[in-house]
């Protein structure tokens, strides 16, 4: 009964949606407002403005960098939220330590199978390398901090499944853990504030052009970083830094969320 | 002539500070009494100090702050406000003395005296309000601060009474707020400094609606029938509270509000043109007679007094509704006349209840011998209500009748006479019972109420006589009322 009612309701709701779809600007046309207004400006100026060939990267890290700043905060929020919901005071004395995991924990973290375990171990360095590549090459190819970070995080999860909880957690040193978890927002804030102090606006990238700068820019363009020669290398560096921060932070957060869920 | 002066705000502030001090240090009886008496006396002094100025036509004003842009939280002492303020601060002093004696065996005295002071603070605020919003502010506050007094006994009956009181008065308050909003929307101002802020240009329909709304709102506290239901129920409160509720603060706030609406918001001229007050006058007449009639059948002394209050309040409404100078004077003066007479009666009721535990009129037989002074005071008040010359009530009836004739409405004179008869019918039997119906075989010895109860009672009774005998003497209430009337009628 309820389901029928809901279905009927949704069908009714669907009608205006479909009418609206018919009225939307034609799909795929280059004449649409979506394409001719802001995005046209981006496509035209992004490379020189922001410094990466991948315009998506330009947008997320530069034009709309503040969004991404918020976005990494969202993941951090998710981490804090998961921790705040799941952490329990099981061992009152050892606050924050999983030093005495329950036997059930041991059970669940037994290696799955020798084949899987072996393959994961074998692939781990390659996966990590690939993740790093995705992170660092995000400015020129599809990819970037989030994507790479996700791969790294997935790797951490795979390792946890294979190695067990305790072993895998060694990937993230206890002392460094909170720093790494906060890495992404922190990177943004540091770079943003640097921009604020040195250039004049939060998240504004410096456009230092001098002898040293152009020399290094040439070097970078030679090894495949920003395409245009006159571009500021500092800018490229900062993009890179941001990507890196996002990647590491993202991976740390994903891994931590998984560990927490598993432990509790 | 307007003079900026701190005294208009000082008067309400004094009781406010007093309330604060009582809440802080009131656990010791000494400080509690000390603060109450001190503040009451000081306040009376402050208010009286403005009397000469007011009589000379000086208006004291004080603007505290802009409440909202365009509407100030301001105080303004004109003759009408002054009249109400004097009555309430005089009676506060007397009631405080009385309450100190009366409340001795009760619990939660800190709360009682604290809210008592707050209650008077808001009453003076109402009296001195510069605009309708300030008035409403204090009017609503009055509702809130009387609530703990009404339910003081904390019995189920008290809670019931409190609930009823709140429901009635808050709904009334909502009507006033609505009326205030509408007034501001129509007139663009809320000031009470002019004899009328609305004009015929605002549209008859709006004006009628506005009048009904405001009168309905204030009518709740003024206990116009059929809005009087809360008042007899609120008898559950301790006697000083009943006295305060019924004689001074609450009901008079309602009546005062109606006077303000008629004279300051609409203005006499406009109301004459609108011809709106006729039905109000009839309603008042109806209330006078019906309430008196109901009072006849009340056996509980305080309930009989309550219905008497309902009836008497409508004298004020009637006086205001007649829209003639004489009637207006009667209405204003009746604020004082009714207050002193009725508070005397409540004091008597309280004294009898404390002393003998009797609340039912049937049991009063022969009590005149036991408590001669108390019953003497009661007799004075009763005669005043009946309208015997030389007592305060006569003044009201005299001017009211004159006003009715002035308005060409002689039938209200008939109402007046009928009311006097009804008053006699329900008060005089009590006197008769007290003095002449002693059950045979009982020995009587004078066993009066304690002095703290007796003195205020007797003072009030004496004052009823003073008001009745010296009405035309300068500085007496009538002269103040005359000042107010001159302003409203522009003569």
């Amino acid at each position: 009964m309820k389901k029928l009612l809901v279905t009927a309701l949704l069908i009714v709701a669907g009608i205006p949606l479909l009418l609206m779809v018919a009225e939307l600007p034609p799909y795929g046309s280059a004449e649409n407002a979506t394409y001719t207004h802001v995005s046209a400006h981006y496509l035209e100026h992004a490379v020189e403005d922001a410094g990466a060939e991948n315009i998506v990267t330009d947008i997320i890290l530069n034009y709309r960098g503040f969004d991404t700043n918020g976005e990494v905060t969202v993941i951090f929020t998710a981490l804090a939220a998961v921790l705040a919901v799941l952490l329990l005071d099981r061992t009152p004395a050892a606050a924050g330590e999983e030093s005495a995991p329950a036997p059930a924990d041991e059970e669940s973290t037994q290696p799955v199978s020798i084949v899987v375990s072996f393959i994961v171990r074998l692939l781990a360095p390659f996966i990590a390398l690939f993740a790093l590549y995705v992170i660092l090459n995000g400015h020129a190819t599809p990819g970037g901090g989030f994507q790479g970070g996700t791969i790294l995080g997935a790797l951490a999860i795979a390792l946890t499944v294979v190695l067990g909880h305790k072993e895998a957690q060694r990937l993230l040193p206890e002392g460094l853990k909170p720093w790494l978890q906060a890495a992404a927002p922190l990177t943004f804030i540091v770079i943003g504030l640097a921009g604020l102090v040195s250039v004049g606006s939060y998240l504004e990238f410096p456009a230092v052009n001098g002898h040293v700068a152009s020399a290094v820019a040439t070097f970078f363009s030679n090894i495949g970083f920003p395409a245009a020669e006159g571009l500021s290398w500092v800018r490229a560096m900062w993009l890179l830094l941001l990507e890196f921060g996002i990647g590491i932070g993202g991976a740390a957060v994903i891994a931590s969320i998984f560990w927490t869920m598993e432990a509790e | 002539m307007e003079v900026v002066d701190i005294r208009p705000i000082l008067a309400p502030m004094l009781s406010l500070v007093c309330a604060g001090l009582i809440f802080l240090t009131g656990r010791q009886a000494f400080w509690r009494r000390m603060w109450s008496l001190l503040a009451a006396a000081l306040k009376l002094g402050v208010v009286m100090s403005m009397l000469p100025g007011t009589l000379n036509g000086t208006i004291y004003v004080f603007k505290l702050t802009d409440f909202t842009p365009g509407i100030g939280l301001g105080f303004r002492v004109d003759a009408l406000g002054m009249f109400f303020a004097i009555v309430s601060s005089t009676l506060w002093l007397l009631t405080t003395i009385y309450a100190i004696g009366y409340m001795e065996p009760e619990e939660s005295k800190v709360r009682f005296f604290g809210f008592f002071a707050l209650c008077v603070s808001t009453t003076v605020g109402i009296a001195f309000a510069e605009n309708l919003l300030t008035l409403f502010l204090f009017y609503e506050s009055l509702t809130i601060v009387t609530y703990p007094l009404v339910i003081h006994e904390e019995t189920p009956a008290a809670f019931k009474a409190g609930k009823k009181y709140l429901v009635y008065t808050l709904i009334g308050g909502a009507f006033i707020l609505l009326g205030t909003v509408l007034t501001y929307h129509t007139a663009g101002t809320l000031t009470l400094s002019k004899p009328g802020i609305l004009t015929l240009a605002n549209g008859t329909q709006t004006l009628t609606l506005l009048f009904v709304t405001l009168i309905a709102g204030f009518g709740v506290k003024a206990a116009i029938m059929p809005l009087h239901g809360w008042l007899p129920t609120a008898m559950a409160a301790p006697t000083p509270v009943s006295a305060l509720l019924h004689a001074v603060a609450v009901v008079k706030a309602g009546a005062f509000g109606i006077l303000r609406v008629i004279y300051n918001v609409f203005g006499v001229e406009l109301l004459r043109q609108l011809n709106l007050t006729v039905w109000l006058a009839w309603l008042a007449a109806f209330t006078i007679l019906t309430a008196s009639f109901i009072a006849l059948f009340q056996d509980n002394f305080k309930r009989r007094l309550a219905y008497s209050t309902v009836s008497q309040l409508s004298y004020i409404i009637l006086g205001a509704a007649l829209l003639t100078p004489m009637a207006a004077m009667a209405a204003i003066v009746h604020i004082a006349n009714q207050a002193f007479a009725k508070i005397t009666m409540f004091f008597v009721a309280g004294a009898i209840q404390r002393k003998t535990g009797k609340t039912s009129i049937r049991e009063f037989a022969g009590i005149g011998y036991q408590m001669p002074y108390t019953m003497g005071a009661f007799t004075v008040a009763a005669l005043s209500f009946v309208g015997v010359p030389l007592f305060a009530g006569f003044i009201t009836k005299w001017y009211l009748s004159l006003g009715a004739l002035e308005a060409g409405a002689w039938w209200f004179v008939v109402v007046m006479i009928a009311s006097a008869l009804l008053n006699a019918a329900y008060f005089l039997p009590i006197v008769y019972l007290a003095y002449f119906k002693a059950p045979p075989g009982t020995r009587f010895h004078v066993d009066e109420a304690p002095l703290t109860l007796l003195i205020p009672t007797v003072i009030c009774a004496l004052y009823v006589i003073v008001l009745g005998t010296t009405a035309e003497v300068p500085w007496m209430p009538l002269s103040l009322a005359r000042t107010a009337v001159q302003f409203f009628f522009g003569t």
Binding site: T73, A84 | E140
Partner: protein, 496 residues
Amino acid sequence: MVSWPHWLVTIIIVPLVGAVLTPVVGRGRPKVIPIWALGIMTATSLAALMLIIRVAQEGPFSYLVGGWARPYGIELHFDEFSASVGIICLVGWLALLFSYHYVAETIPARRVPYFYTLVLLNLTGMIGFVVTGDLFNLFVFLEILSLSAYALVAVSGEHIAEMAAFKYLVMGAVSSIVVLLSIGLLYSVTGSLNMADIASRLAGVEQRLPVMLALAGLAMSFMVKAALFPLHIWLPDAHSIAPSPVSAILSGLVVKVGVFGLLRVYQIFYGAGTYDLTGLNTALVWLGAISIVMGAFFAIFQEDIKMMLAYSTISNIGYIVMGLGLASQYSLIGATVHIFNHALIKGTLFLAAGAIIHKTGYRTLTDLRGVGKAMPVTCMAVSIGAISIVGIPPTAGFLCKWYIALGAFQAGKPAFGIALIFGALFIFIYYIRMVNSFYFQKPTHPEILEVGEAPLSMLIPILVLATLCLVMGILGRIPISFIEPAVIRMLGPFGG
């Protein structure tokens, strides 16, 4: 050092830094965490204060993040409405102070640092939400604050806390998705994400239906966030189960985000100038009126004090939304000022209720009888809050009633003004029950008379807020004259 427009980004960055570093700072030093959080909020509040003074003096201003010109980058826009950051900082600060003892004793120790992190993130999200001038950025901040709010509901780990949080999450997430969809629709026809730019481009848009649906979608989802009557079902559980400082934040601030979102939507569409908003206005007015009545109606049957307060939030949101829908100058002033005042009032009430529950361990009216004698100061604050929320002058709650009722007359819909004034009486019924039980009834549990007053860290926030309830009632002209130019500007050609 840095020039003043930078304060605008500072008020987002500072709490954000504070939030992400809380676990680092608090590592092994749990005592430091509350002080750290308070310090962060103090700094934020100071920056916010400078901005508010600035906007009062010079009118609205913008900050271009990354230095990109509008509409290419993200613009932060600080107008008079954004001065809500003031109340966010104030209530946030006081709630953090309140948490000092409260949290340590009610929340599992390992969660404590994350509790503070989440509170700070929540505040960051709200601050970002009210200052951003970019629609998508708005969505991002909306998510920050929503996620942290869901988690904060569950943080106490009490019996059904997780269930309440889940309910909240599902409704909140659906509404967030609809927000995103609506943003997408607006983007599809205007090609822009900047609010001011959208407003100017909307005027020339031919496709009406997508715009109207986007409007409907935004309105609907912000109504969910604001817990307007038929969409309120997540609110009572979430607000009553959450730890009390969180309830104060949720009820005082987070639901206002929905209202604020509506306000921004209105700004966009009034700015566009060519859209007839009568339908939406009518809907809002009716829903507001229904919320007032139904919120009050349900509250009457609640025994649990926090539940009661939660339902009364629905009523009060009804006021604000009704004020928005009436769309006249006075009603909008009333609505926006009530956003501020209601935060003060509900803050007082929830914090005081929290202190009472914390000290006595009881939470129903019957159990709490007589607590007024044991905790006089706290209960006085409750009374002030109650009087204020009913709208008895001279308290803060009165102003909104006055202005919205006046606005109803101004808009030519006096019926709603009447409904509002009389609807407020409903609310009184349940507050009088509370006051009766606290002060005037014999205790059900005699030992309740023995519990002392709450510790100072709880008492101070309660008292500050209660005092403000009174002060803002008398000094109501300050927020009103502050917000007035913005309202006039927003109504523009529609001006009432």
